[in-house]
């Protein structure tokens, strides 16, 4: 990374020697990530972090503006997709999109594009991309796959027309987004043609960041299968612990899912209270609950699945390479969890309900 800052600081679009070096380094970074995604380098753009998804949607909708502007999306997509007046396709109790309704939605009039996650970062459930893509394609609808939760953790998706992801999901630097537009896909941003990244970004990426992303990709890809096996074993241990606690429901698909995410809800508990109690015991977890004043709406993902939204806890296992002692931490967590749930229920007088 330091060497990259030394050598790759210049604007890669300029012609002087430093710029040529920067251009070469950027090409190398692109080649590495594109190869990992099984796409051609010009199909891949580095975009500012968080900009992949909105840019992908803008390009798809603008290119098909004469057809319509409806985006077909599963009910568990990110809020920014659903906020675009999407045609929302329900999911089942595991969080998997209803393919019959998906098929109906993509052949309705006025559809510009369809959007589906490779897997949901909140509950882990993977989506049936091959069939969803085939249905969309059969009706001439381009499929945008949001892989921001799965890149580096599951094999890279192949069933898409446009793909977006974030380098942070494979332990890369923040502020680097990935946008892939397959050759032949109708995709165009409104306004003047963008100068950088094959017309898909306002500015060239900072080369050291792109290199760091490529470096992270290589490291994660090299150990992905071993990391996957370890994460699944650890998550299975957490699932078994959670299932063993009375009135705790584990959410999401037990098998076809992200290897490192596990979510469950404890009846009658405030998610925030569980988060704080576990934090006090040294475990950092998240919650999709909305029981505190800071958030009004509970997780739309949990609600769409018909899951309990209160008492919700999400555990996201970090990569073992950056977390020594991961197995011991999970073992300690599995010991602490039943105590936490029982103690909180007693404290709130709900243990007899």
């Amino acid at each position: 990374m330091l060497a990259a800052v030394e050598e790759g600081w210049a604007d890669p679009r300029r012609l002087h020697a430093e710029a040529r070096t920067a251009r070469r380094l950027l090409d190398e970074a692109r080649e590495i990530v594109a190869t990992g995604l099984s796409v051609r380098p010009p199909e891949l753009s580095f975009v500012p972090g968080g900009w992949g998804l909105p840019t992908a949607l803008s390009g798809l909708i603008h290119a098909r503006r004469r057809v319509g502007d409806v985006v077909v999306a599963s009910a568990v997509e990110q809020e920014q997709v659903l906020a675009r007046g999407a045609s929302v396709v329900p999911v089942d109790r595991l969080g998997r999109v209803d393919l019959d309704q998906w098929s109906y939605a993509v052949r309705s009039p006025g559809v510009a594009a369809a959007a589906l996650q490779s897997a949901n970062g909140e509950v882990g459930t993977a989506q049936p991309l091959p069939r969803a893509h085939a249905e969309a394609r059969a009706h001439g609808i381009p499929l945008l796959v949001d892989a921001s939760a799965s890149l580096g953790r599951l094999p890279a998706p192949v069933d898409f027309d446009v793909l977006v992801g974030e380098a942070t999901s494979f332990a890369g630097p923040p502020a680097v987004g990935l946008l892939v537009v397959r050759e032949g896909t109708r995709w165009a941003l409104p306004g003047p043609r963008r100068e950088a990244e094959f017309g898909r970004a306002e500015a060239a990426p900072w080369v050291p960041l792109a290199l760091a992303a490529a470096e992270a990709w290589q490291q994660v890809a090299a150990t992905r299968e071993a990391d996957d096996a370890l994460a699944r074993a650890l998550v299975d241990r957490i699932r078994a612990t959670a299932v063993g606690i009375v009135d705790v429901e584990v959410v999401g698909d037990p098998v076809d899912r992200l290897p490192h995410v596990v979510t469950f809800s404890a009846l009658y508990l405030d998610g925030e209270a569980v988060v704080h109690d576990l934090d006090r015991r040294g475990f950092a977890v998240a919650s999709g609950s909305a029981c505190t004043a800071s958030v009004l709406e509970p997780s739309h993902v949990l609600a769409a699945m018909g899951a309990l939204t209160h008492g919700n806890i999400r555990v996201t296992l970090p990569l073992p390479s950056i977390t020594p002692g991961l197995e011991a931490q999970v073992a300690a967590f599995c010991t602490a969890l039943p105590d936490t749930v029982t103690a909180l229920r007693v404290a709130h007088g709900v243990e007899d309900l």
Binding site: Y268, G306, L308, L353
Partner: protein, 83 residues
């Protein structure tokens, strides 16, 4: 609904309560009632829209939800004993 003299009031008025309180109030009342009994709950918390049906599913009760504008009304028919 408050202006109508004969409108039935709720058995559990959870308006203004945040999750998980609406479900807790409902569950506490349900422990004292026999199977087949109908319980009417009023709630304003958006989380209750997911959580009351989820609790009913876990406990084997059935629920019908009506949007009453200011609040949602949940008509819960208790199934067989929870345990």
């Amino acid at each position: 609904m408050n202006g109508e003299p004969d409108a039935p009031g709720p058995d559990v008025d959870a308006r203004g309560l945040r999750c998980p309180l609406p479900v807790i109030r409902l569950a506490r009342l349900a422990t004292r009632l026999p199977p087949g009994h109908r319980v009417l709950v009023w709630a304003t918390d958006p989380a209750a829209a997911a959580d009351i049906p989820a609790w009913c599913r876990m406990r084997g009760h059935t629920v019908t939800v009506t949007d009453e504008g200011e609040h949602a009304a949940y008509a819960v028919v208790l199934g067989s004993a929870p345990d």
